[in-house]
């Protein structure tokens, strides 16, 4: 693919930044309807760049990785909203065909997810300042409401800035990977991805299981998957 074939103009970029703002807010601040999950955010990214199927494929891989990080208690988890959008958009912009581009997109999405986690931490520290001093806020409830809304807008800004900063570089990096075709090492690359997905699925299953006794169910599920594959339903 040549650079001139890239489907990323200023209009797409602005739409992507606005979508990033909404997705950045959704995970924690408002309204938590889970459009920030990679299954949705990467599809939106793909759709913005003209290929929602490619976006969703990236979202599926990212989702298997994100599922093993449920936000229990003080656990850290990747911020998959803006990251999924960037990864899905990057793969879609590259044509959504090359496996090398898919692998690079997923890694970009995963890495950006953890960058997002750092920005969430910074925002929470900032919120401490915004929501103080407590005495003043209690004395003026309207001020409390105003500050609370400012904190939500800051989260939107955070998501928008992440997309604004990383979308174009990610698209360029992923497009570079398009030209690399299958090779002997490519077999190992794909095996590495598949085994990583399997390990991540195992860890995700444990996060949902009540104890260690559920392991045969993973095999039963995989057996069901095999039946669907060989039954020609996929």
């Amino acid at each position: 693919m040549s650079w001139s074939e890239l489907y990323l103009g200023p209009g797409n970029w602005i739409l992507a930044v606005l979508a990033g703002a909404v997705l950045g807010m959704d995970a924690v601040s408002w309204p938590q309807v889970m459009v920030s999950r990679p299954l949705v955010s990467a599809t939106i990214g793909g759709w913005l760049l003209g290929n929602p199927v490619a976006g969703m494929l990236v979202g599926l891989v990212l989702e298997i990785y994100a599922l093993r990080h449920p936000p229990f208690g003080a656990a850290k988890y990747p911020d998959t909203g803006p990251a999924g959008l960037v990864a899905g958009a990057a793969y879609a912009a590259s044509g959504g065909q090359a496996v090398g581009a898919l692998l690079v997109s997923v890694v970009i999405g995963w890495g950006l997810g953890w960058v997002g986690t750092v920005t969430i931490h910074v925002r929470r520290r900032l919120n401490e300042r915004i929501m103080s001093p407590a005495f003043d806020l209690a004395a003026d409830p309207s001020l409390l409401e105003q500050r609370h809304r400012i904190a939500i807008w800051l989260d939107a800004l955070r998501g928008g800035v992440l997309v604004a900063a990383f979308l174009v570089p990610s698209v360029l990096v992923v497009t570079l990977a398009v030209g690399t075709g299958p090779s002997d090492l490519g077999r190992y690359a794909l095996a590495s991805l598949v085994l990583g997905l399997a390990a991540s699925a195992g860890a995700a299953a444990r996060a949902s299981a009540f104890g260690v006794r559920g392991w045969p169910l993973i095999l039963a599920g995989a057996g069901l998957g095999l039946l669907l594959v060989f039954g020609g339903l996929t």
Binding site: M56, A191, S192, A198, R206, L226
Partner: protein, 251 residues
């Protein structure tokens, strides 16, 4: 003064933003105060001193699952309306934190959300378009999400101080116990179909049965040792594009 239905609706709708100002000092406390404001304004109408004291109480540190915070908002509002002694309110807040977090985490984050996500993923892998697959997930998930928020708010207002008793053995807890086998089976099915699709589309020849066996072992080992398995999964994810690009450059 007793809050009107419109105040209750405003407070409930604000619970969607309860984590908006989450911070390490008060956790979700300031969000609870934000959501309670329509109730407090009505209850303490014409009494700014009592309103200030009630807002100050509501802003204190609190934590809980965001969806079940609707229950805390309603129950605390009910206590304010009943003129409950502030010390009792504070003790109640402390007692509520644990159960609201645990029940919500196990039922919503641990079961409901993964099941809905995996259902959406399965829909795509079985041939549905991306828009339909995302819609399956969003409609299914948010049907449960909004129902939980409504249930939590209504029960919180009705039960007041008795909310803790309500949470013990609640349907959410029972559901979590019943859903997890479905969740695990779905993970197994989805990851296998996804892997098959990725390999098929890559146009790379692989010993598929050997890969299937190694994948099964990797999944089971990660299930037994999830932390180490998760780290190995992340490492394998990083290695994959490096190997692909190196192969491409060398070839």
């Amino acid at each position: 003064m007793r809050p009107l239905r419109s105040d209750q609706l405003a407070a409930w709708s604000r619970t969607f933003a309860v984590q908006g100002s989450w911070n390490y000092r008060t956790l979700v406390g300031t969000g609870i105060a934000y959501a309670m404001m329509p109730l407090l304004r009505r209850i303490y109408a014409g009494d700014p001193v009592q309103l200030r004291e009630a807002v100050e109480r509501s802003m204190r540190p609190f934590n809980g699952h965001p969806y079940l915070c609707a229950m805390a908002v309603a129950a605390l509002g009910r206590l304010e309306q009943d003129q409950t002694d502030p010390q009792t309110i504070e003790k109640f807040r402390s007692a509520l934190r644990g159960p609201l977090g645990t029940v919500g985490d196990r039922a919503v984050w641990g079961q409901w959300r993964p099941i809905c996500i995996l259902t959406g993923m399965l829909a795509f892998l079985l041939g549905a378009g991306p828009a339909w697959s995302a819609a399956v997930f969003l409609v299914l998930y948010n049907g449960g999400h909004v129902a939980i928020r409504i249930w939590a708010y209504v029960k919180g207002w009705e039960a007041g101080l008795e909310v803790g008793r309500l949470l013990r053995g609640a349907w959410l807890e029972r559901w979590a116990g019943r859903l997890w086998p479905i969740n695990i089976m779905l993970i197994g099915a989805v990851v296998l179909i996804l892997a098959e699709r990725l390999v098929r589309e890559a146009g790379v020849s692989l010993e598929s049965w050997a890969l299937l066996g190694m994948g099964a072992v990797a999944a089971l080992v990660a299930f037994r040792f999830p932390r180490q398995g998760g780290r190995a999964a992340a490492a394998l994810l990083l290695i994959a594009p490096l190997l692909w690009l190196l192969g491409g450059l060398a070839g």
